[in-house]
């Protein structure tokens, strides 16, 4: 046998070996998880941990605003395996319609809004729970606002500032901070038990103190680079990015239902139809994250495994490590849950 025969045999063995390996290799499933932007920091770590435990699964994480997360399936017809949003109440609103795309959700984590800033932000040495709203009305303080037309943290910020009037017993807080700052003002209607905050169709700044951005995530870079002094941010996002964080009183931070102790509740109403499928009104309620698996999920088995990992497995620990408080999972429709998940939730 000469060298050329040996080389030929080696090539044949290599080709056959490669073919056998290719035919018998474990197939990889791509699991599409679409989630709220404020979950992304945690989800990056969860993706890594889950893939290490499940080498046959490639988790693809995609972030959007919460309404957009659900629209991907409900209105745009995209395939997704797991949907997770920063406001559980959006799931029945957008997913239980006709045709339905899901019939259950699981609440799995909470959050609260507070004030993010830098150590060198204007008046940082003065700010605390009793002074923030007065500091925010000063002419030389630059504030960021996430656009309430596009982002849940934007309309929740306006609710917080309005609820602060009841908590601090000061009826001018909202006007002192936002008055004269927009070409068309944000009007507030007061009823005996509720403030209705009306967002105009065109929201443009004019006073020079407010910087409006499309999402709270975009305010982070502005804050880090000194473009603004303060912004309302979710606690987990602020902590994860190493910013100073001032918690607000629990009655106004929308982290729980303590705001019901105040004289008024709050509601934000858009002056126009933003999406065909939802009434453009958002009522104040606690910030609780919810998830679901759409009926159309291409990989139901893997989706159930991933949800179990999130709410009862290592994912729960990762949420805590990345500053997102978890809660005992709760559901709105125990009877509709997949059997695998029923074991993890009290009926």
């Amino acid at each position: 046998m000469n060298r050329s025969h040996i080389a030929a045999i080696a090539v044949i063995v290599l080709v056959l070996g490669s073919g056998i390996w290719y035919a018998t290799r474990p197939e990889t499933t791509t699991l599409t998880v679409i989630c709220a932007g404020s979950l992304l920091a945690s989800m990056d770590h969860i993706e890594e941990a889950y893939e290490a435990d499940h080498p046959d699964v490639d988790v693809l994480i995609e972030g959007h605003g919460s309404i957009q997360v659900l629209r991907q399936v409900a209105e745009l017809g995209r395939d997704a395996d797991v949907l997770a949003v920063a406001d559980y109440s959006l799931i029945p609103l957008l997913m239980y319609g006709d045709p339905p795309h899901s019939d259950w959700y699981i609440q799995f984590a909470t959050n609260r809004l507070g004030i993010a800033y830098r150590p060198d932000s204007a008046y940082a040495d003065e700010i605390n729970q009793d002074t923030w709203y007065e500091i925010f009305s000063r002419d030389d303080v630059a504030l960021g606002l996430s656009d309430p037309r596009f982002d849940a943290s934007g309309y929740r910020t306006l609710m917080i500032v309005q609820l602060a009037e009841d908590y601090y017993d000061d009826p001018t807080i909202f006007e002192d901070i936002y008055g004269g700052q927009f070409t068309t003002p944000i009007d507030v209607e007061e009823t005996p038990d509720e403030y209705v905050i009306k967002i105009p169709e065109i929201l443009e700044t004019s006073g020079g103190r407010i910087s409006l951005r499309g999402s709270s995530v975009q305010l982070l870079s502005l804050l880090e680079t000194g473009g603004i002094d303060y912004a309302f941010e979710y606690e987990n996002v602020s902590e994860y990015f190493g910013l100073e964080f001032l918690p607000l009183p629990s009655q106004i931070d929308l982290g729980n239902d303590d705001f019901t102790q105040l004289e008024h509740s709050a509601r934000v109403r858009l002056a126009f139809q933003r999406f065909a499928s939802i009434t453009p009104e958002f009522k104040a309620h606690p910030t609780i994250y919810g998830l679901t698996i759409p009926f159309e999920a291409p990989h139901e088995d893997e989706a159930r495994d991933f949800v179990e990992f999130l709410i009862a497995g290592e994912g729960r620990a990762i949420f805590k490590e990345t500053y997102l408080p978890t809660m005992d999972p709760e559901t709105d429709a125990y009877e509709n849950l997949p059997a695998q998940l029923k074991n993890l939730i009290e009926e």
């Binding site: 972030g63 605003g65 209105e75 169709e201 870079s221 680079t225 473009g227 126009f272 999406f275 065909a276």
Partner: protein, 181 residues
Amino acid sequence: MKRWFTLPLIALVATMLLTTGCITGDGESVELTYVGDETQTLTLDDLKDMPAVTGEGGRKNSVGQITLPMEFTGVPLTALYELDREITENSAIRVTAPDGYSVTFSYRQFVEGDFITYNEQGGEVPAGDLQMILAYEEGGESIPEEYGGPLRIAVIGPDGPITDGHWWVRFVSTIEVLTMN
């Protein structure tokens, strides 16, 4: 010409015409509802008869992911507005997709091109000259549905600006000319 040759030839020619859009005529299949003082329907051919501009633009979504600039061609929103009435500082344009998603653009946006712009790393940069168009071509081709076509909003400029993705309304089906109070 024998029938066995004629029929396949006709089929071949018809197939070629269909695939090149000559029979279906994209202009016939694309309809835009235009709401001014009166409501009318504009086809793609109607839009292509209007002054066209070409330029590059990219977008950044709400969590910071960037779609790098591509070349878009379409009709400036200012030209669409002026089909119905003269532009003033109270002018605005509402753009709606079939699923009800709608965005209203102010005078500062659709006339002056007032948008936040970003570099490819996502950091804010000073804006150059920006223009809003109703785009019907991306990279010289019709915009496929998976890229938000056949009609979508694009914000373009000579330097390929990157702007917020929520302004780039996809599947545009209706344009309303507004005068705000």
